[in-house]
Assembly symmetry: C2
Homo-oligomer: 428 residues x 2
């Protein structure tokens, strides 16, 4: 039986695996993490609303009843496309068909040294690290007597005005003005400065301009300062330098979060170098109309790792629905090949996009229809809740959202991972 | 107004703070963590049942409406009992009354080098580390071809047959035989060896012998091997040496968990050296009948840090109810002093003790009454649920328990904290 190896258990890889459920192949899903992460809700972990487990599903449990599927906790180190092998850190695995779905990471546009000052939001560890930094900044401000230092501790800069940046900024606004209102004795959290720094003309540029404007108004009401046409030229331990117009301004700022760019995982370059495929500026692999790599019909590249430009002339966006639909398409191609059939090229069906801006407010676009405010927000809740994989997680997330909307308290506000003492354990 | 400084936000410190709510004092609760942890359920975090946030409550949120209370995220480094000051890493804080409630840590009986091989279960980080090791052991076994190595990976040793050891062993038994049943393709998790190593004659020695026996029978049914009169003489990366009778046996074993002993926090020795108080072999401070330190009526020591022997001639056990009742007593003493009154010595009211052994089974003792099996288990559920601080957490824990009992799936099975790549962030 043919062996399909899928690398990456995100939206693309998992949907490819699941779409092969009744196809007579053997499949191995390889991931370096043991869980699938529902990334669209990761910002809620970063802001202390949900726990990591609420938006994650273990890959083994998800595929436990799919008898043709194995899960392998391992990292792909290299690809031998001649001998059709994936090389692991401690072994190798043979494939007949390879599906690459390793996604993307944070991109600092050549300034990787900013990474330690301005974490991105891609992994569970990123989210708990951002949570730790935000909460510790308020704690440090409570103990700081120097007004200038206190102001820097209570200044948060979010770089990038896409959906993730908007969601983070809106949520931080709520935390400062609402959640923490009565928690401190020496500081007033509502004096917090939250900067959303966008390089372009408007925030959430992938949406209609009227929605960008509505989101900006909602953010301002939440106490967020939106800077447009503002470029970040440097980031350090206690500052960010923003070029707004022609004058670079140094802003004293303890916490910076990077939501400005993503770059395809290095596997893209790796497979390109082995197959002669082209990659674009973001490191994505340019794929054929059937999502395979040119000259290698046995290698598929999908999701954030793929540049698929055959439909609209420009690459499809790096969002979950694209990855999910591409994963399903790969399943169909593999099934069709076993029957010696061909199927039409991949087509993305855009069902719309949405971003939450604050408590009770979102923006949404579905075809020609645009929504904002509470209608969009209810749609957002419904879509995200129904797309979580496990029923238990749907229930837990619903309760935590409901509880937050009643109490305005965020339960998951733990500062962990930095126990300052000898008990801190060495890792084996 | 008098300033009461409470060091430690565990059961003792938090109950002391809350009992001072309507007493005309100013109080500061100092902790190096920003949350109170419900330690009796920590083993459920370690075994992938609950998320850390489910059993933690932020101290600020808990005390937000108690206007005479401030929370300070800081670590006490030393005490100046003459000038009545607590020295912090970056400052100091003056007190009129000091309440020391910094609890206990894992104790390796002079073999601290075992700590890296055999983590204890005292902190959230301990729990996620144990979870990581247990889950990674199964993952490694799935990929291991050498039968001896695979057996070592599927051997788990829990050192110490007290309630924590019994709870861990029983839960691991369920995970191996039930939760993971269909998850793997190359190994059969039900072949897992789980050793519970107890140095004494019987497990849970603080309970009646009939209950020890019942717990042992239940554990055996869950696939746990109970070793009695068995001393651990060495622990290494891939082994544990057990002296059972007179012959030391080397057991190949990848995962060891330490549940054998606790030691009072170093603050006990510190305060003893400053006040001339005595400490016992576990580092606990011997306190007066009113929980103060001899010669220092302004210093209280409570909870796991205190040795209170005035009631029964031997120290009260290091359990949550003792700490909670002592915290409340301290509040009463402080209130009485403000009115120039005295109150009788502290008395612990023992409402019984309980330990869960497996799904649907527990042991419980309440005065002359003893329960085991499902009645004790229901009592255990009720008592633990009703003692969780936040309503939200009660609800979340109840749902996760209910879900587990229906589906036998454990949601919180994430391996985190060891992202094997460059994305891993440096800590500031």
């Amino acid at each position: 039986m043919d062996h399909v190896v899928i690398v990456g258990g995100g939206f693309g890889g998992l949907s490819a695996a699941q779409s092969l459920k009744n196809v007579p192949v053997r499949l191995t899903l390889l991931d370096r993490r043991n869980f699938h992460l529902f990334q669209p809700l990761l910002y809620q972990v970063a802001t202390g609303w949900l726990s990591p487990a609420n938006i994650a599903s273990t890959l083994r449990a998800t595929l436990r009843h799919q008898r043709n599927a194995s899960v392998l906790l391992a990292e792909a180190k290299d690809f031998d496309v001649e001998k059709r092998r994936v090389l692991l850190d401690d072994g190798e695995i043979q494939y007949d068909t390879l599906v690459l779905a390793t996604g993307s990471g944070t991109h600092y546009f050549g300034n990787d040294r900013w990474a330690i000052y301005a974490p991105g939001l891609k992994t569970v560890e990123d989210a708990t690290e951002i949570r730790r930094r935000v909460l510790k900044a308020f704690e440090a401000a409570e103990r700081e007597n120097d007004p200038a230092k206190r102001k820097a501790l209570l200044t948060f800069a979010i770089v990038g005005g896409g959906p993730t940046g908007v969601e983070l900024a809106g949520t931080l606004g709520e935390i400062a003005h609402d959640t923490l209102k009565n928690d401190f004795r020496n500081i007033d959290p509502s004096t917090t400065t939250i900067l959303l720094i966008e390089g372009g003309e408007r925030i959430i540029p992938s949406f209609d301009p009227t929605l960008s404007e509505k989101a900006a108004i909602t953010l301002q009401a939440l106490g967020v300062t939106v800077l447009r046409n503002a470029l970040v030229t440097d980031v350090g331990a206690e500052f960010v330098i923003v070029k707004h117009g022609n004058i670079p301004e140094r802003i004293a700022c303890h916490t910076v979060i990077w939501a400005a760019g993503v770059k395809a995982s290095p596997d893209g370059q790796l497979i390109a170098s082995k197959t002669g495929a082209k990659t674009d500026r973001s490191g994505r692999v340019e794929v054929e109309p059937d999502l395979t790599v040119k000259g290698h019909p046995e290698i598929f590249v999908i999701g954030d790792l793929a540049n698929y430009s055959h439909q609209t002339g420009k690459p499809l966006p790096g969002v979950a629905p694209v990855a999910i639909q591409q994963g399903r398409y790969v399943g169909k191609v593999i099934a069709a090949r076993l029957k010696n059939r061909t199927i039409p090229p991949f087509r993305y069906h855009d069902h719309g996009s949405m971003a939450i801006v604050g408590r009770g407010s979102a923006v949404a676009e579905m075809g020609r229809f645009r929504f904002s405010g509470s209608v969009a927000w209810l749609a957002w809740l419904f879509v995200h809740l129904s797309n979580l994989i496990e029923f238990e997680n749907k229930l837990l997330v619903l309760i935590q959202w409901g509880w937050y909307y009643l109490s305005r308290n965020r339960a998951a506000r733990l500062i962990t991972g930095d126990l300052p003492s000898a008990e801190k354990m060495q890792r084996r």
